[in-house]
Every structure is written in C-alpha cells, then in structure tokens.
C-alpha cells in the first residue's frame, strides 16, 4: 500500500511537535513512546500497519481547534481516529502524521425526548446512545455490527449502516447536526435539532467523508421510538435464485422488513457449526426476515411473508414463536464473521453493493473467481439493499495468500461495479479500495470530489492517502481552462 511519502522535515521536528501538542493538551494527552504507539498502528483492517508520529488525545473542542490550527500553520498531517474499528483502513496512521484520537470525547451531552434527539460527543459508542435512551422507549437506529465498540464520530466519518438500514437509513439519514473544526482551527456548526440544515448540505457531505474534510467534535442524532414487537422468519431455499426471488417478491408486495439477511451455503455451514441454532444444512440460501411494528402489523406481515416464501419454494420456513427463538435465528448471522474465523486462519471481508436482480449471476462468477484464485469464499448479504459481504478465506502465514486474497477481493469489487453496483456499501473506501476508485469514477468525476476536499483542507493535511488514488495539489485542480478567443463556439450555440 503506497502512502504519501513522509515529510523528512516533519520527522526531524518530532520533539518540537510533541512539545507543542503537550502545551495544548496537558497531562497524559500526548503519547510518544514506541510501545504505547503500537496500540494505534492499525484499525479494523489489520493487514496494514504503521506507527504514527505521535498520538494526541484532546478532550475539548478548543483543544482540537488549537491542534488543527497549529498543524495547519506548521504543515503537519493529521489522521483522526474514533474507536479504530474501520474495516477499510480509514484510521491507518501516517509515519509523519499526528494521530488525533477522539476517545476522550465520551460524554452524552443532552437527551431531548420532546424533540426526539440526542447531543453527544463523537467518542460515545453507537450502542451507548441506545443504552442512554432505551429506558424511555427510544433507540438510535443505525446498528453496525461493531456497535458495541465503534464511536458515533467514526460512524459519521464512514456513514455506517447495519442490518436495519433498508428501513431506517444509514448514519446520514439519522444525524441532524454536527460541530466540526476545520484545518484553520475555525469551529463551524451545521444543522442542529431541526430538520434540513440551512444553506448547502455540508452536513450531508461531512457524513461519509472518511475524516478528510474536518474533525467532528459534537453530533446531534435523531432517536426513534422502539417498535412494539419484533418477529423473525427463517427461510431456506434450494437455490440462490429462489431466495433472491423471495426477496424481490417481499418488496414487490410493498413490505419493507426491518432486516432481511441472506447467507450462502458456506456461511450457513460455518455459522451452524459455531452456534448450533438449527440452521438447515441442505439449502443453498438462508434468509432471515425481521418484521417490526405493532403486534397487529407483525402478525399480518408474518403471514404475508410466509405465503410469499412458500410460493417461492422455500424448503424451510419457520416463524419465531418467542423472543428467544428470534434471537436464535439471528445468532448464526451475527456470529458469521467469527464463525468463518473458526474454519479459516484468516478472512478478508469485502463490501460491495449490487442491483439485487444480479445476485445469482454474481455468486456464480464469484465461485469461478474462487477457483481461479484458489481461495474459498463465504457470503453474507444484506439482501434488502443489495450489500454483499463476501468473506475470503486465506492463511496469512502461507506466503502469497494475503496478496491472492487482495487480488480476489479486487476482482469481486470490479464485478460489483461491472453489474451496475458500487465498491463499498457501508465500510468506506479508506486505503483498502482507494486504488479501485477509477473502476467506478472517471478522472473528471474524481477531480470534482477532490476539489471539495480542497474547499475544506487546501493543503491536504487531513487524512491524506485515503479515498483518492492520486493526490493532486489543489492549485492544479482549481485551474480553469477557458480558451478565450480560441473557442470552438464563437457565437451563441443554438440547440
């Protein structure tokens, strides 16, 4: 992985930089010893590691403002980090960059039930928001599988999803406002407790900007009333096609389930061997459909989905009769990653989205790729929204297998784009898919994105080396080519 070349001047100034940071964040807010820095050398994408120049752990917006201003004036790079659970290397440090850890921003500042929102600091974990409001009958909807650990600031950076996002949206649909700090040290507030921020929707571009635009220091999220009832169905199909048809027919009947997850045969077998919840082992596709709402709605839709499944030839069709049974249906799916971890020394989790109608074809071609690369693959799939998570099985201790896994993964993502899909549904581009961006975007497309980066961070100091395959200088990107006097259209064009 080629990262921006470290600036030797910055490396030589390490002691001075550490002193400047310690003056801003007193106490134990600056980490410089090699042993402690090792804890920050990678995030959830552990294949890549790099020790940062040093780590700073601010506690206030004023400190973040001073840090960014100092770094802007001294041309020092910054990599922001939440809980470090990114699966795309979004928080991978730079050798010459300060790692800005936001973990100490860990307070819930305000809970406003009347206006149905919560104001929190970015280091608060996703699940802690729900924990803070659940006694009053509310919850925070986006639920990435890392929700026990991942921070809301990281969720904002990555626009995190989860199994319920077809019905309840991703992070971007559930954040009302942020306070952020620009590289100049300026503090800006976007949105608030009201809907639809004023002016350009800069809040909308901050969410999912992967830490490249600004550092978020406060987040206002909307909270929702908990549904009265949850029921789930476990549906098994003899073919992927039948399972896919069932998903299409459920949506065609006007039903948007709270969650709709599919697993393929290798994933089913791995999960069942791990958690023993009674998944059928003689099916090619297993579908978990979760319904939520008032009791009357759940029972009505349960019958409707059951009838659709049977019409699609389901060979297994069970409805949860109790909360324990519903959780058992989910147990295998939720344990799918560690379950695959049991059958393979290492696995590499991919994250493309495809138009759902192309699923059978994509799985068939993925099997061919699996043979070509000589590595196994198990698939879990957010079936409702077409977000595919192939888990590539490999052994990092076998020379060449990591490289083969990466090549296999890149081929899968190219396939997703080829059938009309995208490189990443919820994990972000980071460093992992950075070099695949040209598969989806032209140089002109990418230049329009990068100029937005320049509007926020003209010296490219915030998290450089992520998302964009090539770092163009802002002055070069901003140039306007108007061929005054040499135009092909000297007169008003008439169409």
């Amino acid at each position: 992985m080629k990262m921006p070349a470290p600036d030797p001047k910055t490396l030589a100034r390490r002691g001075e930089i550490a002193r400047a940071m310690a003056a801003i964040v007193p106490g134990e807010g600056v980490i410089t010893d090699a042993e402690s820095l090792r804890a920050y050398e990678s995030d959830g994408l552990t294949a890549y590691r790099q020790s940062p120049l040093l780590v700073v752990l601010p506690q206030t917006t004023a400190q973040v403002s001073q840090i960014l201003k100092w770094c802007g004036e001294n041309h020092v790079r910054i990599v922001p980090r939440g809980a470090g659970t990114s699966l795309s290397g979004g928080a991978l440090p730079l050798e010459d960059g300060i790692l800005l850890g936001m973990a100490r921003f860990n307070r819930v500042l305000e809970i406003d039930y009347d206006n149905r929102c919560c104001v929190v600091q970015p280091g608060v974990t996703n699940l802690a928001i729900t924990r803070a409001v659940e006694d009053a009958g509310f919850y925070y909807a986006p639920d990435p599988s890392s929700q026990i650990a991942c921070s809301i600031g990281g969720n904002v950076a990555e626009n995190s999803g989860g199994v319920h996002c077809l019905k309840y949206g991703l992070t971007t649909n559930n954040v009302l406002g942020v306070e952020l700090v620009l590289m100049t040290g300026e503090v800006v507030r976007l949105g608030g407790k009201h809907l639809d921020a004023a002016g350009y929707d800069l809040l909308g571009v901050m969410v999912g900007s992967e830490g490249l635009l600004a550092v978020v220091t406060e987040v206002t999220v909307r909270i929702l009333p908990k549904p009265a009832t949850l029921r789930a169905l476990l549906l098994g199909f003899a073919t992927v096609e039948a399972g896919g048809q069932c998903v299409a027919d459920i949506i065609g009947a006007g039903i948007i389930p709270a969650g709709m997850e599919m697993m393929d045969r290798p994933a089913i077998h791995a999960a069942e061997a791990f958690v023993h919840v009674g998944y059928p082992l003689d099916v090619e596709a297993l579908l978990i459909v979760e319904l939520d709402g008032p009791e009357a709605e759940c029972s009505h839709l349960l019958d409707a989905v059951m009838a659709i499944a049977q019409a699609c030839g389901a060979v297994t069709a069970r409805a949860s009769g109790s909360e324990a049974e519903r959780l058992a249906f989910w147990a295998g799916r939720k344990a799918a990653f560690p379950a695959v971890g049991r059958i393979s020394p290492d696995y590499y989790c991919m994250d493309g989205t495809i138009p759902r109608r192309r699923l059978p074809e994509v799985l068939t071609r993925m099997r061919a790729l699996s043979e070509h690369h000589g590595l196994g693959v198990a698939n879990v799939f957010h079936a409702g929204d077409g977000n595919l998570h192939p888990l590539i099985l490999y052994d990092a201790n076998q020379p060449g297998q990591l490289e083969r896994a990466e090549a296999f993964g890149a081929d899968i993502l190219r396939l997703c784009v080829e059938v009309g899909g995208v490189l990443t549904g919820e994990h972000g581009v980071g460093v992992e898919k950075r070099d695949l961006m040209p598969e989806m975007f032209s140089p002109v497309d990418l230049a329009h994105q990068q100029r937005l980066k320049c509007a926020f961070d003209p010296d490219l100091l915030l998290n450089p080396g992520k998302v964009f395959p090539t770092l163009h200088r802002c002055a070069e990107l901003g140039r306007v080519h108007v061929h005054a006097g040499r135009t092909a259209f000297p007169d008003l064009p008439r169409f």
Partner: protein, 409 residues
C-alpha cells in the same frame, strides 16, 4: 436588473457543457431552469442566459423490486409519480408542489427542480427529505465538465456524498442532467386522527407524544383556527384549530395504531378520524401550503426544533399580524406576514435564530427578495466555507450567482 436576454434548450449533456463553456467565455450569468415553477425563490440574479433543461426528459431505468428509479432531470414529477403509482410505489419524501403558492400552475415541476430545491412534504418527519432519497446523479459543473457521483443502488458510501450537496443547492453548483432516486412501496391505506381545539403549545405537546410513540406517525401538523377553516377538512372540524396525525401502512396495522394512538392522546380530547380519501386531500393541502395560495402576503418557511415552533410564532405575532401553521410536529412553520419592504425579516429571524433554526423567504416580490437575505445568513467561517464550496464546482460564478447569498453563491 434586466430580464434574461437569451434562452437555450439543450437536449443532451454535451450541449449543456457547450453552453456553460460558452457562458464562461462570454461571462454570462446562467439561470438553470426546469419548469420554472420555483424560479421565484431566491434572490433575483438578473441572469442573462436561461439554460432550460426541460428537454432532458425520460425515465432511464426503473426496476420496482430494486427500489431505484433513474430519470433525466427534466422529466416531470407528475410523470414519475404516475409511473411509480402503477407499481404501487412512491417518492417517500412526498415532494411539495411550489407552483400554486408562487402563482403558477400545479403539477409542472421537474425532477431536477425537486432535487435542486430539496422539496419535501409532511412525510419528511418520518422518512426523510429529498436529499435522503437522492442516490446519485450526472451533471455539468460550472467548469463546463460533465461528471457523475453516487450510484444506482440503495446503499453506497463510495466517495463523497455529492448528491447531498446538490440537493437544495438551487442550481448554483452544477446543472443536474440525470438523477437516481430511492423509491418505496406506497402504503396500502391511511387514516388521520384530528384533535380539535388545541392551542399551539398544547398541539406541539400532543404531536411530540404521538411522534415519540410506537404508532409510527407519518405526518403531524397543527392548523390554528382560521387556517383550519381553509383546510381540506370536513366542515365540523373547520371551526377551531385542528391537530392532525397521519397513520399509513397495511390495513390491520393502521386500524390498530389509530386505536392505540387515540387512547394515548385521550387527555387532549376525543379525536375525529379522517378516512383514506380525506387523509390524502388534507395532507396534499398541508404539503402545498394551499392555505396561503391566492393572496399577496410574503411567506416564510422556518425550520426549527419541533417544540420551539409555537414560541417562535408567538414572538413574531407580538410584532406583526402574522398567520402560521405547523408541519413536522412543529418543526416546520409556514408563516404569512403583512406586506413590508423587508417582509419582516429581522422579526422573523430574531425568533428562529435563537433556537438554532433557520428561515427562508419563499414568496415575496422581487424587490423584497433583492433587499433582504432570502436564505438564512451564515456566520463568517461557514459563509467562507460556503463560498469555497461554490467555487470548487463553479469557479467563475456562472450558475445562479447571488441566488442564495448576496456575496456570491
């Protein structure tokens, strides 16, 4: 300020790029126009070139089971909604029709205009705004370059979410040529509970309880007495104020939720129930601000924390004889004020600014829109960022210069 002198009606992206490059060379100010149903919103820009995109029409791809629709930006909303209705689907953000409010015909709006204005309706409360359903696009920027962003699938985080930025940019960043939207199933049925006679303060309290309950309320509006008298309501409910709560979904679910919601709001009095046709008529009226159609008063749209709505209106009412009603459980205030050279801007903004909301002058004569800030003024650091973002897409300031703010964008 002079009227636009030239008008171009390109039929493809390449022609639009050509037109923008031409405008760059001649330093012409461009007004991007679909049907023109919202041309009266924003500061008058005195454009000397109208770029009419209404010839970019047609649905490019629509697969109902994928919940995705792609259409050219000049396709009319009416055509798209009719197509969706045929597959029992809809645009869940319930785009409002600005036409009648601004003195134009109903049903003229284009899809590109709906996105460029981030037009949403009562269901925004539950299902989000246009920006939340806007998945991807093709456009020509102010650099005269065709580009795309986003995708054609419902879940995508690849690259910056430029769709959000284009939604609500009022044609000042790029010329949208093709848009991809998330679509959702149309509810099988609907009903509305109406609580009569509540004060504004009681009404937001009732709406907060309702929206905070598991009843899954998809519309919450309060029409004070006077506004309710002009609403699409049965005669008996027009006498005083009306607080309306909409429930949508499958039949058995709507019936069960209507019962439980009426019970939990019993302290606010007995609720009347509107059936499905009455519900549709009522909410279309609320959505399109029909209460203020046909008069000449300036109209403001205030977005605020829902519970703050009544206090904002009370503060304005203390200064002038305004008329208001509330959507989004109190968080959206539609306000009509007496005619005045500044449309009472200072009074209106004093109320909303204090609680972190924002106000937009949606309807006013051109001279008023030229004199006051139509969109909420931004603090200096944000205003500077806004200018840099504008310049990143439109460095020569060709597209709707000054439509949003007097100092450039």
């Amino acid at each position: 300020m002079t009227a636009p002198t030239e008008s171009l009606k390109p039929v493809c992206d390449a022609e639009i790029a050509e037109a923008v490059i031409w405008a760059a060379e001649k330093a012409r100010r461009i007004e991007v126009r679909g049907a023109g149903s919202k041309a009266m919103v924003g500061r008058p820009i005195g454009a000397d070139l109208v770029l009419d995109v209404s010839a970019l029409t047609g649905v490019v791809d629509y697969a109902p089971a994928e919940l995705v629709l792609t259409a050219r930006a000049g396709t009319t909303l009416a055509e798209v909604e009719a197509l969706l209705a045929g597959a029992r689907q809809m645009l869940a953000f319930e785009p409002m029709d600005f036409g009648p409010l601004l003195g134009g015909p109903a049903g003229a709006a284009t899809l590109g205009g709906v996105i460029a204005s981030n037009a949403s309706g009562p269901r925004r409360l539950k299902d989000g705004a246009a920006r939340d359903h806007f998945l991807g696009f093709q456009a020509v920027s102010g650099r005269g370059e065709a580009f795309k962003a986003g995708g054609k699938v419902v879940k995508n985080v690849t690259g910056y979410d430029l769709s959000k930025l284009m939604a609500g940019s009022w044609g000042t960043l790029s010329v949208l040529t093709e848009v991809t939207l998330k679509v959702l199933p149309r509810p099988q049925t609907c009903a509305t509970l109406v609580l009569p006679g509540l004060s504004d303060a009681e009404a937001v309290r009732a709406m907060s309880l309702a929206v905070g309950s598991p009843a899954d309320v998809s519309g919450a509006a309060h029409l004070p007495a006077g506004v309710a008298a002009r609403a699409a309501l049965p005669k008996a409910l027009q006498a005083g104020s009306a607080t309306a709560l909409r429930l949508e979904g499958f039949g058995p679910s709507v019936a069960a939720r209507a019962r439980s919601l009426a019970e939990s709001l019993a302290t606010f009095g007995a609720a009347a129930v509107l059936d499905a046709p009455e519900t549709q008529a009522f909410w279309a009226h609320v959505r399109d601000v029909r209460a203020f159609v046909g008069d000449e008063r300036p109209v403001w749209r205030i977005s605020a924390p829902p519970m703050a709505g009544p206090a904002i209106v009370a503060a304005i009412r203390a200064e002038t004889a305004c008329e208001a009603y509330y959507d989004w459980a109190g968080g959206l205030v539609w306000l009509a004020v007496p005619r005045a050279p500044d449309a009472w801007a200072a009074v209106v903004r004093k109320g909303g600014g204090a609680v972190g909301g924002h106000a937009t002058l949606i309807r006013a004569p051109a001279e008023v829109r030229a004199a006051v800030a139509v969109f909420e003024p931004e603090p200096p650091a944000l205003a500077a960022l806004t200018r840099r973002v504008k310049a990143s897409f439109d460095p020569l300031n060709l597209l709707g210069p000054g439509r949003l703010f007097a100092d450039a964008p």
